[in-house]
């Protein structure tokens, strides 16, 4: 126990060291490009500033000067974090609003996928016949990139936001469906025999014997699904636009604000980690030692 504790303390220290090294390297690498821009500015001294503006070399702004330094990211990030809820029209919303839209879409699509995948997976897991009959469909539908559904979704649903939710739904469903079916099919024979000798009703058996047995596998499927959904939402929002963290990234790219793009990437990463952490907790809750 002490060994494990010491190891995790050491690992934390190492993590911090790596972070510092990374930031330092980044800082040094971007310092050069910043100074070259500065020297370029010097060489343009004496030229009409209006002309420089037309060339995109406006000395008054620093926004487009090369790759941003970590400090600039921090500065931009602080601005976003301290004022996350502003709304200045469709192309300028606070980061929390954008993130909220994305989370809402993912949550809704994922929730509907749960409602479909878990009961269906239960049925497939219980019935070898259905499992074999539905297997070709699952095998064909599973490898389709969720974004490939987008045109079809836009055509039939005719609403970009709902189409995004649909894409999340369709990509979340497969890991949950397959894991649920697998977990349910793997319920030990002797536990079912216990339930049979106790004349347990089918509903009680499903909820008190099969579901707890399969729960760790099901939650693992949910965790994988959530990971995929979070990957897909960014791409989907880039495609459909409007709101969301993915749209924010694309919008800032169009603004040529690499600083904001990098900040958004970090936000996506941290949010994904948080979502995964939630499911890790859930997994711990339902897991058992056999």
């Amino acid at each position: 126990m002490v060994g494990a504790q010491r190891r995790s303390a050491l690992a934390a220290v190492l993590s911090v060291v790596f972070l510092v090294l990374l930031l330092l390297a980044w800082h040094l690498a971007t310092l050069q490009s910043a100074s070259s821009v500065a020297s370029a500015a010097v060489s343009t001294a004496g030229v009409d500033p209006e002309y420089l503006k037309l060339l995109g070399k406006d000395p008054g702004t620093t926004k487009t000067t090369g790759f941003p330094t970590p400090l600039q990211i921090g500065e931009a990030g602080w601005k976003h974090i301290t004022n996350p809820f502003y709304d200045n029209g469709p192309n300028d919303k606070g980061i929390a609003i954008q993130l909220g839209h994305s989370l809402l879409r993912v949550g809704l699509g994922f929730f509907i996928a749960c409602l479909v995948a878990i009961p269906l997976g239960f049925v497939i897991g219980m019935s070898p016949l259905l499992s074999e009959a539905l297997n070709p469909f699952i095998q064909v539908l599973k490898p389709i990139s969720p974004l490939a559904w987008m045109p079809l979704a836009l055509y039939t649903i005719k609403d970009s936001s709902t189409s995004g939710i649909f894409v999340i739904f369709i990509c979340s469903i497969w890991p949950m469906l397959i894991n649920t079916a697998f977990g349910v099919a793997g319920v030990r024979r002797d536990l079912l025999n216990v339930a049979a000798t106790l004349e347990v009703t089918p509903l009680r058996r499903a909820f008190l014997v099969i579901l707890p047995t399969a729960a760790p596998t099901i939650v693992t499927g949910m965790r994988i699904s959530m990971g995929i959904a979070w990957l897909v939402i960014v791409a989907a929002e880039m495609l459909v636009g409007g709101t969301g963290i993915g749209y924010f990234v694309w919008n800032e790219w169009n603004n040529l604000s690499i600083t904001n793009v990098i900040f958004a990437i970090l936000v996506i990463g941290v949010s994904g980690m948080f979502l995964d952490f939630l499911f890790a907790r859930l997994q711990k809750l339902v897991s058992y030692v056999d």
Binding site: V194, A196, T197, V286, D290
Partner: protein, 288 residues
């Protein structure tokens, strides 16, 4: 003696037309009786138990309990499984409570808990009721299995080699406990075992099965020792070695050479050392 359980001409083959694993199995159990079945692996003991439990169907023959045919699993027959089959995510108390709630779904919560705790105490697990099965030793797990089977007050108890996976010391303790509980509750028990001494300690009658395929109950040995026997005193009984030799001789030699009886013939009952000597083969008894 009231007829409690009746097994008639039971047979099982796992594929149509294949040679049956066992066939022509006849026996009956009276109320309050403890019956053990002994035989080598593969002779179909577990299948017979599963048929009695209603978890498996025989190919031929019937099982009647209190004059009603056994067609499926029932709360009237409690089963203790070889693999203990506890729900690993539930504590000891909740495992037993699961059975109590299945038997009496409308029982108030506190009454059900009192009941569960009473049976946990009976098998000597007081203090461990909040532990998960993974925190228990093999012997303790098996005790939970026994508590779970007893707490529904079944009319009959079926034990599938419940102590097979335990070390000798633990096995002895639990055997004593089982004996005590069964004597106190007058439970009717059918038990599979590989252990001759276990059978002699616990059983009133011992069914000897020949080797499969086409296994049969070769003979039924009446345990002529006093019912007040304990593990510590049993070997002082003059009958002890007579019965033991008879059983061991069957398992080592005669189970292999056994020639299947004709259909419709019931196995003979023997009382080693009292009625017949070991030497002559028991004569066949024809039923009407």
């Amino acid at each position: 003696m009231s007829e409690f359980l009746k097994v008639e001409a039971l047979g099982k083959s796992f594929a149509p037309g294949a040679m049956p694993v066992f066939e022509n199995v006849w026996f009956d159990i009276t109320k309050g009786e403890f019956v053990c079945i002994i035989g080598h692996s593969g002779c179909g003991k577990t299948t017979i138990l599963n048929v009695l439990a209603g978890l498996d169907r025989a190919t031929t023959g019937n099982v009647f309990m209190m004059k009603r045919e056994v067609k499926g699993p029932s709360l009237e027959r409690g089963v203790v499984f070889q693999s203990h089959a506890l729900m690993p995510w539930l504590s000891v108390k909740k495992n037993v409570l699961f059975a109590v709630n299945s038997r009496w779904p409308d029982l108030p919560r506190d009454e059900a808990e009192t009941r569960a705790l009473r049976y946990i105490e009976m098998v000597g697990l007081k203090g461990a009721e909040h532990k998960k099965p993974s925190e228990l030793s093999g012997g303790m797990k098996q005790r939970v299995g026994i508590a779970r089977a007893f707490c529904i007050e079944p009319k009959m108890l079926l034990l599938d080699e419940p102590f097979g996976a335990l070390d000798a010391l633990t096995r002895g303790t639990i055997q004593d406990e089982l004996l005590r509980i069964v004597q106190a509750t007058h439970q009717t028990v059918f038990m599979i075992t590989h252990d001759v001494d276990e059978a002699m300690l616990l059983a009133d009658r011992i069914l000897l099965m020949s080797n499969g395929p086409r296994a049969q109950i070769a003979e039924i040995v009446q345990n002529t020792m006093t019912r007040e026997r304990t593990r510590n005193t049993i070997h002082h009984d003059p009958q002890y070695y007579r019965i033991r030799n008879h059983l061991v001789d069957f398992l080592v030699n005669r189970s292999k050479e056994y020639q299947p009886r004709e259909a419709g013939l019931q196995p003979p009952t023997v009382k080693p050392g009292i009625e017949s000597d070991d030497k002559p083969r028991p004569t066949l008894v024809r039923v009407a």
